[in-house]
């Protein structure tokens, strides 16, 4: 037998004051009375048995000393050798995923019920048992490692927050198995609602016990939201949302779209039981912002009733038209393209604007500006092309169907009077050719430079009057600015993602050039938790995020300022231009489906039962009985 706390033997010294008080107590106190008549009569009639009279005080003292002895023995906590050999290593895996936020019928959440179950397991621990605590929401985490100090686990359970992330029970079980040293003594207790894919694959084996929490709850959820810029409309965008009904009854609700808080669209939807509804909206906005889709429906889980997406901003496009002969058609078409900021000049700039391009109309300097150039009806050769002879009756016979410059453009059989054959090198892409195979329009990409040349006179033909011409110009704008209809991806909670970031790329290249120390990049979730972002192959590795909302990433200092300002309630005051944003949604059908997938045996009888309590518990009970008996018999003066 070992003693867990032998230092508590010191408490036996309390016997001294007990004996002292006992001696003091046996000294009779004097009580004057008006007459002894009645007392004498009373005690003379019923005399005490003398033996008991002598022993009763000793019995009282012995009872008190026995009480003290039992309490001190309980404090030193004896541990039998058999107990130590049978000590278990218990790992509690507590599911704190999003589905555990589901409110039960009694007003509590599944997570609160899970915490109560964990507490019950704690109370059933035996002496010598070791216990660890893990969470399995968003990512598996070891909250408290193996310890035999149950109060630490109890405190840790109270500190755990439920996440918005998916369930990671399998990963947590794997980690729990690595955490324990002795497989024979291992017990892994999973407390979960088992709302994840294929829970039936969890086999309640010798070392695994499953505790199921919660009942079936109906739920409707937005399982997907994607937004992308239009390929043809510079300020247009489209959003696709998928809403699924995880219930046994039809759901009728409204799907609301908002962009930065401003209402964009409201769509009434009807989702059949177990069905899915997809809706697409096409809208326009140059400024972009946070697009949110929300369903108004009172169901089991609230966080999946809303999804967010980041719509990127479209900046103004600087277009420099260089011409000596102003073309009304060309100017009108360019001005009509949204976001285009047109300026006209006769001087050929050395380089195209950073966020724009140069249009050379009937101008062909010997050296073209660097960057993006659209040359229309050039009058002379350049380093990119050589002009051939004028083609009589030039009719477009072939156009490149693959080119991003020609979608939605139909120029076949269109006459281009005054067109001249272009002689371009092999790197160039012929876009329009006539029946003889002469190139009428071509595009060239060389490094950062992009050139499109159209060798036809706009004033002589009806090309400017055709609907294809403004579309062609719009395509040219998109091609010059590398616009391919950016699909802004939203992350899922608990997901580790690699995000390509222009800011990060710029930062890295500038740091390499200046050979200085690079910024520390980090990401911040919707709950203002900041974590470092690591470098991936093609960008930044961010996540996993525990909470839905907008994730910011950028230099850590700026994120820290943003978080501090959020704490002060003044987030708008800080410049977040260098920070980039990405939306984080639950978007998990398995997490939103709150119906049980499989019958899981609930509760674990191995932890119940009074026979498993520590010996100190029984010692304390006996001591309590003794002191109650002593008080009842002597202090209440039952024994006289």
């Amino acid at each position: 037998m070992n003693l867990v706390s032998p230092i508590h033997w010191w408490w036996l010294l309390l016997a001294l004051p007990i004996i002292l008080f006992y001696i003091l107590r046996t000294r009779l106190r004097k009580q004057p009375v008006a007459t002894l008549l009645f007392w004498v009569k009373l005690f003379d009639e019923k005399r005490q048995r003398s033996l008991w009279n002598r022993l009763r005080h000793w019995a009282s003292l012995l009872l008190q000393l026995a009480f003290l002895g039992l309490v001190v023995t309980a404090l030193v906590d004896p541990l039998w050798s058999g107990q130590r050999e049978n000590a278990r290593q218990v790992v509690i895996v507590l599911d704190n995923s999003a589905s555990m936020q589901t409110t039960t019928t009694d007003g509590t959440t599944r997570f609160e019920a899970a915490c109560e179950s964990a507490m019950e397991i704690l109370s059933g621990l035996r002496d010598g048992d070791e216990i660890a605590l893990m969470t399995a929401g968003s990512t598996e985490r070891v909250v408290v490692g193996m310890t035999d100090f149950a109060p630490a686990i109890r405190d840790a359970i109270r500190e755990i927050d439920v996440t918005d992330g998916p369930t990671r029970v399998r990963e947590a079980i794997d980690t729990a198995r690595r955490l324990t040293r002795s497989p024979d003594r291992r017990e892994i207790v999973v407390i979960s609602d088992f709302c994840f894919d294929a829970p039936e694959l969890l086999d309640p084996s010798k070392d695994l016990r499953l505790v199921a929490i919660g009942q079936s709850v109906e739920n409707a959820a937005i399982t997907s939201l994607a937004v992308r810029r239009s390929l043809v409309d510079p300020i247009g965008y489209s959003a696709l949302v998928v809403v699924k009904n995880f219930g046994e009854s039809n759901v009728e609700c409204r799907l609301t779209f908002q962009l930065d808080g401003a209402l964009v669209d409201v769509i009434p939807i009807q989702i059949p039981a177990g069905g899915t509804v997809q809706k697409t909206i096409v809208k326009a906005s140059a400024d972009g912002g946070i697009l949110s889709a929300q369903i108004r429906h009172d169901d089991g889980l609230a966080i999946d009733n809303q999804a967010l997406a980041v719509l990127p901003r479209r900046p103004p496009i600087e277009v420099v038209l260089v011409t000596d002969e102003p073309s009304v058609y060309l100017e009108s078409v360019l001005k009509a393209i949204p976001l285009v900021d047109l300026s006209t000049t006769s001087e050929v700039p050395e380089a195209a604007p950073e966020n724009g391009f140069v249009v050379l109309h009937r101008v062909a300097p010997a050296t073209l500006p660097t960057g993006r150039v659209l040359a229309i009806d050039p009058q002379s050769d350049s380093q990119w092309w050589k002009l051939g002879d004028e083609i009589t009756q030039a009719i477009v016979a072939k156009q490149d169907p693959e080119s991003p410059l020609l979608p939605h453009v139909q120029l076949l059989n269109v006459s281009l009077p005054g067109a001249r054959a272009l002689d371009v090198d092999s790197n160039a892409t012929p876009l329009l050719t006539d029946a003889s195979g002469a190139t009428l329009m071509a595009s060239v990409v060389r490094g950062e430079d992009r050139v499109v040349v159209l060798a036809t006179n706009l004033d002589d033909g009806d090309l400017p009057l055709r609907i294809a011409f403004p579309v062609l110009m719009t395509n040219a704008v998109n091609w010059f600015l590398h616009r391919t209809g950016e699909l802004q991806r939203a992350l899922g909670t608990g997901e580790l993602a690699e995000i390509s970031s222009a800011g990060y790329a710029r930062d890295q290249s500038s740091q390499n050039n200046e050979s200085s120390q690079s910024n520390e990049w980090a990401w911040m979730d919707a709950a203002d938790n900041i974590a470092p972002a690591t470098r991936g192959v093609n960008g930044l590795l961010v996540g996993p995020a525990d909470h839905v909302g907008i994730m910011h990433f950028g230099p850590r200092k700026q994120l820290q300022r943003l978080a501090d300002d959020a704490g002060d309630g003044d987030r708008g005051a800080i410049d977040t231009s260098e920070l980039e944003r990405v939306a984080v949604n639950l978007a998990s059908a398995s997490e939103s489906d709150l119906r049980p997938r499989v019958e899981i045996a609930s509760s674990d009888p191995a932890f119940a039962g009074s026979g498993r309590r520590s010996i100190w518990f029984y010692l304390t009970l006996v001591a309590l009985g003794l002191i109650v008996g002593e008080w009842f018999l002597y202090q209440r003066r039952i024994v006289g």
């Binding site: 009580q31 004057p32 009375v33 008006a34 007459t35 002894l36 007392w39 009373l42 019923k46 003066r637």
Partner: protein
Amino acid sequence: MFDSEFLKRLEYLSLLSKRVFKGQLLAQRRTKQTGGGVEFADHREYIHGDDLRYLDWNVYARHGDLLLKRFQEEEDLHVYILLDCSRSMNSRLTEPNLAIDKFTFARQITAALAYIALADLDRVSIVGYDDRIRATLPLMRGKDNVLSLLRFLEKLTTSPQESNVSTNLVGVASDFSRRAPRSGLVLIVSDLFDQSGFRAGIDVLRHRRFEPHVIQLHTPAEAHPNLLGDVELNDVESNSTRKVTITERKLKQYEELFSTFLREIETYCRTYGLSYTRATTDVPFDDVLLKMMRVAGAVS
């Protein structure tokens, strides 16, 4: 102890007593003796040697019988108050936190009774006693003597601690009956904690043609003591001690014993037609007097 408020209450009780009894109290009561009064009582046969002035000559003229007229003799009632001054009456010794101790309470009741009697033109005497007569206020009459009566009561104390004397009502009653000039009403104000019992003393008074009335006083704690555990009980009169362990059961037995004691006194008084009043110190003295008056009124 006897302040102006106390005197007001005495006066009130006095007035109240007159209204309640309407001439049936104390001095207005007729004595049982017949003799030289003015109110005719009855006739009796003439015996040789009787005063011829009281012969009823009218009867003799009509019927020839010699009958002597008897008259109701009116005389003052003598009221004696025997006040127990033993140490058992000093409840300050046993219960220091008591609002009013038993002896003070007894003196208040004594003062009230004496005041009523004086107001009714009776002759009043107060006798303080323990194992013997300690102090005596001689017979006095009329309300003019109220102040000297109160002064006497104020100076009266219980027996000193070193005296070690116990109440002895038998001896006191015998001594008192010898000293009393006439028989009359004897009001015994006491706790009756007498080692030799209460009966013998009262019997002496009864046999000597006194009319005893018992007013028994005790404190609530004497009836329901709050003692538990091992204690050494000390009799304040005799200074004898007793080591006992008091349990809940013993307490109950004590209370039963005390109740039996009270019942015995009551039964005794009822048996011999004596008036009996029991009072505890937590009741105001005038309430006790009113209770006595109500009982007397109902009887009358």
